[in-house]
Symmetry: C2
Subunit: 300 residues, 2 copies
């Protein structure tokens, strides 16, 4: 999925946020912002938004000299999620429909995303969990996913953010662990989950976890490691969490299920779903939507 | 008041909005956005935000060849406000405290601002009027304003946006019209009120109306006409509506009352008031706040 002009304001806001996370020095903030604006004005908008974010976030890290501006934020997100975990497990154990509820909670975990929301609000997290458990879910897609999980010999799970990865564990525990590999980002970018977050979530104790070798906040295949690419190619089924993975993989031909909360108008338009909705999109549908959109914009 | 780095995302969003108002051609949108980004990256942030917006909006007008991108939006805002007017008059006529209520409604009129909100929502307008009538107002400042109105031989009222200017009429009608002059912007910029909007609101029938000779979305004195500057200098009392007038005049030494809704975190920080609150700020206080902030940032 390409980057839209609406995304620029988001890059700008995100850049300031990242600089403010690492220093109070407003002169550094200003220098970062001017460089980000210069970078943005020359950029190729046919790239996906995470590819652009990768370039911008590298620039911010080099400017501030801080390798991981979101380190504190990620730590905090994981702690909050771990604090909620026993209650979430209880909810799932008592659920009449545990598989649908773990899907819902894995999406709800996506709210713990400092890349989109400025501040975490514990009341909002509680409310999100509550409303998540009543969120409408696409039954047909869930049925398809269950069939594909049964059929697949190898399943690749693409994690998204810190904090969220703890919620993912609820779903991961209910997948066939011997046929499953979980992948995180190869290096810090925004609040995206990397290997240390997988450890905090206790994932390597129960399942194979690898990293994708890239510091893009999504799965930008051209930037991933050879090892990851092989796993990706050979996987019979891919479960991709969050907008960043959707934005980088929506045009890739593979058997992918995207599990995400639609967080902005741009992704809403691309998927044809409402902002705020909980989505499970099978890649064929995503491809069809993208094709339809390409057709519509060609007709303008 | 200077421009803060937080304002950049707003300029970017506003620029895309203005281009989308005048054309569906995404190539023009992209060209506008690249030029706006180039302009922003070299800008002097010690300017006020409306001074920067003036430069950016001139650039958008020259790029699109459209002299007034917000023409439709302004027309629509005026029509909505005129439709509400008889009901607002009734509310004020039946009010126990009509002066405080016209101040509240003049601030509520500020919600009809397409420069900050993307789409007008009629339910939101209704809700805003209702909650405006219960909004806490600063009693001391209102008492001071009433005294200054009695005392002043010449009063200058600086209008803000289209639509809002219709709401302003409720307040203007209760001021000493023979000592009052209303000023609008000198040329179209964003959804700011110009002479045609004053006519639609019926103001020239009851009071002298002038324009300030400038196309800045505020009162950027260095850009105003000689005639306006004389009126400004000679006015015993100035009533300035909205954020744009606050941002351009908060550091000017004069007897100014700022009447506005605090719409963003940046103005909230500068005034020391909460986002969303209804404010009536006497210039001395505004100056004190700015001085305090300058002191605080010098101490960083």
């Amino acid at each position: 999925m390409r980057t839209y002009l609406e995304c620029i304001a988001c890059f700008v806001r995100q850049s300031l946020e990242a600089s403010q996370f690492v220093t109070d020095d407003t002169e550094i903030h200003e220098r970062v912002m001017r460089d980000v604006l210069r970078e943005l004005q020359g950029m190729d908008f046919s790239m996906s938004s995470p590819e652009m974010a990768q370039i911008i976030q590298r620039l911010i890290r080099s400017h501030t000299g801080i390798a991981d501006p979101y380190a504190t934020v990620k730590k905090q997100s994981n702690e909050i999620a771990l604090g909620l975990y026993p209650r979430l497990e209880k909810i799932v154990n008592e659920s009449k429909n545990p598989f649908v509820d773990v899907l819902r909670l894995a999406i709800a975990g996506n709210i713990i995303d400092f890349g989109v929301n400025h501040n975490i609000d514990l009341n909002l997290v509680e409310e999100t969990i509550e409303s998540a458990l009543h969120a409408p879910m696409p039954e047909t897609a869930i049925g398809e996913l269950q069939k594909e999980i049964e059929r697949a010999k190898t399943i690749l799970y693409l994690a998204d953010n810190a904090g969220e990865i703890v919620f993912d564990r609820l779903l991961i525990e209910r997948l066939p662990l011997e046929r499953l590999t979980v992948a995180v980002r190869g290096a810090p970018v925004l609040n995206d989950a990397t290997m240390p977050d997988a450890w905090v979530a206790g994932l390597p104790d129960i399942v194979e976890v690898i990293d994708n070798g890239s510091d893009a906040p999504g799965t930008f295949l051209a930037d991933c490691s050879e090892d990851f690419l092989q796993r990706f190619e050979n996987a019979d089924l891919i479960l991709a969490k969050g907008q960043g993975n959707y934005e980088t993989l929506s045009d890739v031909e593979h058997n992918i299920f995207f599990l995400l909360k639609i967080k902005c108008a741009v992704v809403a338009r691309n998927t044809g779903l409402a902002t705020g909705s909980f989505a499970l999109i099978h890649s064929n549908q995503a491809g069809a939507q993208a094709a339809e959109e390409a057709h519509a914009s060609a007709a303008l």
